[in-house]
Amino acid sequence: MTAIDTPTPRTDQTDAPEVTDAPEPAATAADAPAATVATGTDPATGAPAEQAASEASATATEAAARRMPKFLRPSRWAPITVMVLVLGVLWQIGAEQMPYLLPPLQNIWSSLSGNPLFYIENAWITLQEALIGLAIAFVCSSVLAIGISEIPLVRRAVMPVAVVLNVTPLVAIAPALVVAFGFGPEPKLIVTALICFFPILINVAVGLRSVPTPVLQFYRTVNASRPEMLWHVRIPSSLPYLFAALKIVFPLSIVGAVVAEMFAPGAAEGLGTTISLASSNNQLQVIYASIFILALMGSALLAIVTAVERRVLHWHDTHRHEPE
């Protein structure tokens, strides 16, 4: 493992689109060698003639060359590699010039490799808080979104409030929740659930109402009931909107968990707690190691959502004609 990977935490925002590409190349990478092995062994069992075998291997390499995955082409991997290298070099220069601003990459690496279990345990706690909070938000907001979509009175009452709360920085509620709920897992789950709640609510509520008028008209002429409309027409129509929300909310859930941990350190653990403790002890390398892991977790979650989205929304415009 080279140290050049470590600057990723600094660029977690700009990296996001690149990360979304990850699942596809990974899948093709697993495919390609398996296929070559299969064509290589086949002639050995079936054809005794040497010539046939060499012919077969020739076509196999040709085929392999033809179906070389896109991510193996230099035009694909070169730009990001150069970018990461440049950032790594800049980081090291910065660390040498200003030791109180940035820790050298090797210090971060030794902190990570010196006590991996410590980081894994804390990361697991943070991840749990994030995902449980997100699950709570998902269930509550989906139910309310259906209520909003089906009952105009509820829509007119709830939507304006939801829109305002969606732009309110709800992480700021963390200190208040610590006062109310103490240092247990509750304030973390509540903060995470709260900041995930409104993006899902608004997107799903809009998605459920996104059915084109002629479609609604047709199903009205066969008197489809409201539950039938919801199940067969509205919910599938809302899926693209739901996934758009999930791509925002999965990484956001980690933000919620970390911020809540920072305000309620002490009894509870997690990477947020680790960061705030390390900060009071001037352990810059621990802070950046934690941030690096957080960035990795966020990227992994985003990659998973994107992969699931591709499977579920294969029919949707955005996935049917992918450029390249």
């Binding site: 008209q217 047709f218 409309m229």
Partner: protein
């Protein structure tokens, strides 16, 4: 209820009025319209935009309700006609569900509102087996497209799916709202022929809204000519041409005679003075 009582009209519109907006923006889309459509006939409604032809169709389809007057479909209200799945609707755009393949798109209407099927079976005269949707799709040349998603099909194919979806309900009344207006001339003529073939095998009464004179004359037994401001019926022209109506017929003198007749009525409707604002 007697859907096949041929003595009564399939659709009876009596003094139907529809007004949109109020005050300065008040617009009378339909001004006391009367129209009887006999069962089993193919009727086109033609007129310039704003004449209320689509509004008329939406009243029959129970997508809107009258401000005055009444609309009856086989003696029932449009609402209960819809509830019994007696109405097949083909909108201007295909309105297919993009995540369902063609076959599932045309069978979904059978799976919603199942009460209607039971109700139909109870009424002996209305009891009919559900058609073989796969065969129906093959009949219109969509056999290969059956398992494709709608966005993978051309506009003409999508509209064919929409027609099969509506006819698959075996409706007593087929309502079509400018279904071919977004298609190119060639595709449009193909679909007209296919529609006539399909309709031959049914007993459905068709109300077909269009703004094409040729299309109206080719398809219809009767052409209803409407005028705007306020929306009203100015003439009903019987088209007495033999069926089946092939493409050759469209070049005949008789065909041109009816085209000219409809055009002339449209012209005079356009130049006729606006009625005084509806009271």
């Amino acid at each position: 209820m007697a859907p096949h009582d041929h003595t009564a009209p399939a659709i009876r519109i009596d003094g139907a009025r529809k007004v949109y907006g109020s005050g300065a923006t008040r617009m009378t889309a339909l001004h006391d319209v009367d129209l009887d459509i006999p069962a089993g006939r193919f009727v086109s409604v033609i007129g310039p935009s704003g004449c209320g032809k689509s509004t008329l169709l939406r009243l029959i389809a129970n997508l809107e309700s009258t401000d005055a007057g009444s609309v009856e479909v086989f003696g029932e209200s449009p609402d209960s006609a819809c509830d019994g799945k007696h109405i097949g609707f083909v909108p201007q755009t295909p309105a297919l569900l993009p995540w369902l393949n063609v076959l599932h798109n045309v069978t979904l209407p059978h799976r919603v509102n199942r009460r209607a099927a039971r109700k139909r079976k109870a009424g002996a005269s209305a009891a009919r087996p559900m058609p073989d949707m796969e065969q129906l799709l093959r009949d219109v040349g969509l056999g290969d497209a059956m398992h494709k998603l709608p966005p993978e099909l051309s506009g003409g194919m999508q509209q064919r799916v929409a027609i099969v979806r509506a006819l698959g309900l075996q409706p007593d009344v087929l309502l079509m709202d400018e279904p071919f207006s977004a298609l190119d001339e060639f595709t449009r003529e193909q679909l007209q022929e296919q529609l006539l073939d399909l309709w031959d095998d049914t007993t459905a009464t068709v109300v077909f809204v269009t703004h094409s004179v040729t299309e109206a004359v080719r398809l219809s037994d009767q052409v209803v000519v409407m005028a705007p401001r306020p929306g009203r019926i100015v003439d009903v022209i019987d088209v007495d041409l033999p069926r089946p109506r092939s493409a050759e017929l469209m070049t005949s003198d008789a065909f041109h005679h009816y085209e000219d007749l409809v055009r002339q009525r449209l012209q005079s409707a356009w130049h006729s003075p606006d009625l005084p604002a509806a009271a």
